[in-house]
């Protein structure tokens, strides 16, 4: 399987026209940059509220706000006019937002709009960015969650619920358009020198709060590997859901120490109340329900991505943490200003 997947270099009959939503996100920005230099990509159609910095000659930009109710008709127009072959949907928030209603409009309803437009134009290839965090950290999780497990999310966590909605919509699309190739990539938390999300902000604190008495295993994927998986999914037509994870796991406390930070273990109830206060005061990165990730396991198994997608991470979890920690130290030394 692996050899077959890796050995076959698919020469597409014609060059692809790839549409990217959320191109100003971390993954989107870098993906546009990669596709700009990709031989098999004829054109990149960016639909977002602003043009990514990496946009070049091949990119045509359409300003489009996915939270607007009439966006699907406009998007369908664009897709038809540009002759788009593949849609890469990346318009998701990388951190929980205080503006819950807006986030719901963007992620859950916005995905519906996007899929409606794709359905109208019968877009054959659709790639969705998702998270392994959607499995949720539960006491009953096995050590390695496979793609077959239900995405349970966490209670009272709209950040995850909206993304679960988006996945459900996407699976429905795969059924309603039988000739389509829908790939859902569930990324482990992305860590790297330039990535920015709630996890990197949590790890950037001088003193990192953890749960006293609990030290669950964490798993990350390096930003380069995440991008590699995304380009793989675009280049090959492999339908299905895949966990995109780095190899190996690390306990929370070791992660914090490798990043050069000081862990501050707090009792569970105290930490919950502090986080709730912090979230209400806009001082915490995450709502208190996210603390479950510091208490229970949420580790995914990447065997399927290796077997079917041919994705083999270059960075292990530990190397991703070390790479991130190195950049963090540089940033501390004010050699690197706030990385976007």
């Amino acid at each position: 399987m692996r050899a077959e997947r890796r050995g076959v270099v698919r020469a597409p009959a014609r060059k692809r026209v790839v549409a990217v939503s959320g191109a100003s996100s971390f993954l989107g920005r870098n993906l546009v940059g990669l596709l700009e230099s990709d031989e098999s990509t004829e054109k990149i159609v960016v639909v977002d509220v602003q043009s990514p910095r990496t946009a070049g000659r091949k990119t045509s930009f359409y300003q489009l706000d996915l939270t607007q109710p009439t966006v699907d008709a406009r998007l369908a127009e664009i897709l038809g006019a540009e002759g788009v072959d593949a849609f890469v949907h990346l318009a998701f928030l990388s951190s929980p937002s205080q503006a819950g209603a807006w986030a719901h409009e963007l992620e859950s309803v916005g995905t519906m709009h996007v899929l409606n437009a794709c359905r109208e134009r019968r877009i054959a290839k659709f790639v969705l960015r998702s998270h392994t965090a959607l499995y949720g950290a539960h006491a009953s999780n096995p050590n390695f969650l496979t793609e077959g497990h239900a995405v349970r999310g966490l209670p009272r966590t709209p950040f995850l619920a909206d993304k679960i909605d988006a996945e459900k919509e996407t699976r429905k699309y795969a059924q309603s358009v039988p000739e389509s190739c829908v790939t859902i990539l569930r990324f482990a938390p992305i860590l790297g020198p330039t990535a920015s999300n709630f996890l990197t902000r949590w790890l950037s604190r001088r003193v990192v709060p953890t749960v006293l008495g609990f030290d669950p295993l964490l798993q990350f994927v390096h930003e380069m590997d995440a991008l590699a998986a995304l380009t793989l999914a675009i280049a090959h037509d492999v339908p299905g859901t895949f966990n995109i994870v780095g190899e190996g796991v690390l306990p929370v406390s070791t992660v914090v120490k490798l990043a050069g930070r000081t862990p501050l273990p707090l009792p569970w109830s105290a930490l919950q109340q502090l986080t709730a206060l912090g979230w209400a005061a806009h001082a915490a990165e995450v709502p208190p329900s996210f603390l479950a990730y510091l208490r229970f396991l949420c580790v995914a198994d990447g065997a399927r991505a290796a077997a079917e997608l041919g994705f083999f991470p270059a960075y292990s979890t530990r190397e991703a943490v070390l790479d991130f920690g190195g950049a963090l130290r540089l940033r501390d030394a004010r050699l690197l200003h706030d990385a976007p």
Binding site: N143, F144, L212, G213, F214, P251
Partner: protein, 482 residues
């Protein structure tokens, strides 16, 4: 090539004549001017380059045309004789070995890199000039050493010109010695480091993150920065080992029998009885196998959810090899040919009251049988006797459970009364008995779907273990003494 070693024309002269004619192999090390410095310093450096080069040249120019290998007291380490040669006695050195003294020789290698002879290099001039003029005089001892007493020759003294490259490994050592001898004409001032001003250290100590960094360093010192996929931390495991072994051997005075039934390699599923209020039996089973099994296999055992998620305890157990009891976890472990222990009684077994301590509880729904059928692992019935008496459970208080997160609050002879001291196990005598393996492979993986078969096998295994337990209890005698 013709003008190698431009600084030493007297020596270079025979080289020019002899090298191309006699020993094509020796031509290789002889560099052009451009490469001379590099070649001398790095490539042939390990065998101090000048002697290596000079010796073949001299030998060839003298009277050993037939010798394929050329003597050169080249290697830094195995040539103590050359080292002991006095600095100024060049003719004397020539009579003992073919090689000029090392300092001089090395400096001979260096000059192309550093043109002006510094005062330091003066001994070189004094030492080598007498030896230079009669080339054949120098060459003669080479033959003596080789032919007369080859056994006296320290190993590594023979250096074929081609072999010189293989000594590249010694470059760092040579460089160090070179530096020690002052061979490189590096200004001494560059080697001296200015002492760090005290101010810098003080600033470091007063830096606002200094103590945070020290704290972080101290935190990483006691742990390895990688764990296996189920969270086993080798350094925690190794550190806790001695304590558990003492507990097992001295405190519990455990006896192990039937260890030969545990395979030395390949997957196997140990099925054991569970008892004792606190999860000592998993750790002790692991210790038993590590101490007694000839292959010292690592045991991974499955623990109940509430133990696995109990603060501190669960984390510690997972660092030393416990895995949350879950069919997927067990399958993954067995797929990797691990030795896995299960306690099918689960919480029911741990919470056995003292009066029914040797009676096995229901063996779950036989999940472990399905696991063994699917993975083809043999079942090894195991009896652990003694855990029952470590913390004899008198009552279980259920209504406190929602406050503590435990399934029940155990009341032992000591526990709530003595506070944390009540958790200390009593010094019961343990007996660990491994029964002969039960091979289920005749039923095949599809047997896992046959509920009746699974139940029957489950009962059979349970009866086997009950017999093992009863026999072990009878054989043990007194629970505490003896």
């Amino acid at each position: 090539m013709s003008n190698e070693r431009p600084k030493r024309p007297t020596r270079a002269t025979p080289a020019k004549e002899a090298l191309p004619a006699r020993k094509p192999a020796a031509v290789k090390p002889a560099k052009t001017t451009a490469n001379a410095a590099k070649g001398a310093a790095s490539k042939k450096a390990p065998a101090p380059s000048a002697p290596v080069k000079a010796a073949p040249v001299r030998a060839a120019a003298g009277s050993t045309p037939s010798s394929k290998k050329v003597t050169a007291n080249g290697r830094p380490s195995p040539a103590p004789a050359a080292r002991s040669v006095p600095d100024t006695g060049a003719p004397a050195s020539a009579s003992r070995t073919s090689t000029p003294k090392r300092p001089g020789a090395r400096r001979g290698a260096a000059p192309s890199a550093s043109p002006p002879p510094t005062p330091e290099a003066a001994p070189y001039v004094a030492a080598t000039t007498p030896a230079v003029a009669p080339a054949d005089v120098v060459a003669a001892p080479v033959i003596d050493v080789e032919e007369a007493a080859p056994s006296l020759r320290p190993p590594g003294i023979l250096i074929d010109a081609d072999d010189a490259e293989t000594f590249a490994d010694d470059v760092p050592q040579f460089a160090a010695e070179l530096a020690a001898d002052g061979g490189f004409e590096v200004a001494p001032a560059r080697l001296e480091r200015p002492a760090l001003p005290d101010v810098a250290i003080e600033q470091d100590v007063y830096a606002n993150d200094y103590y945070a960094r020290q704290w972080g360093r101290a935190g990483l010192r006691g742990r390895s920065d990688h764990v296996d996929e189920f969270g086993l931390d080798p350094s925690v495991d190794v550190r806790s080992r001695a304590g558990f072994e003492a507990l097992f051997r001295r405190y519990f005075r455990a006896e192990v029998s039937g260890i030969e039934h545990v395979p030395a390699s390949g997957r196997a599923l140990l099925v054991a009885n569970h008892s004792g209020t606190f999860p000592w039996d998993g750790v002790m089973l692991k210790t038993a196998i590590r101490l007694e099994h000839p292959a010292r296999r690592e045991l991974r055992w499955l623990t109940e959810d509430f133990v696995y998620h109990f603060p501190f305890l669960g984390t510690f157990l997972s660092r030393i090899g416990a895995v949350r009891a879950n069919p997927e976890n067990a399958e993954r472990l067995l797929d990797r040919d691990a030795l896995v222990a299960v306690f099918p009684e689960g919480i029911q077994g741990m919470g056995k009251l003292y009066r029914q301590r040797y009676q096995l509880q229901r063996f779950g729904r036989g999940g472990y049988v399905k696991l063994a059928l699917r993975s083809g692992a043999p079942l090894i019935p195991t009896a652990i006797v003694g855990a029952e008496e470590t913390n004899p459970l008198l009552f279980k208080v259920g209504w406190l459970s929602k406050f503590t997160g435990l399934p029940y609050l155990p009341v032992t002879a000591t526990f709530p009364w003595l506070g944390p001291l009540g958790l200390v196990p009593l010094p019961a005598r343990w007996k660990v008995v491994f029964g002969p393996p039960i091979d289920l492979s005749e039923h095949g993986p599809e047997g896992a779907d046959d509920a009746i078969l699974v139940n029957r096998l489950n009962e059979r295994v349970r009866a086997t273990i009950q017999t093992l337990v009863d026999d072990a209890v009878a054989a043990r005698g007194s629970a505490l003494f003896g």
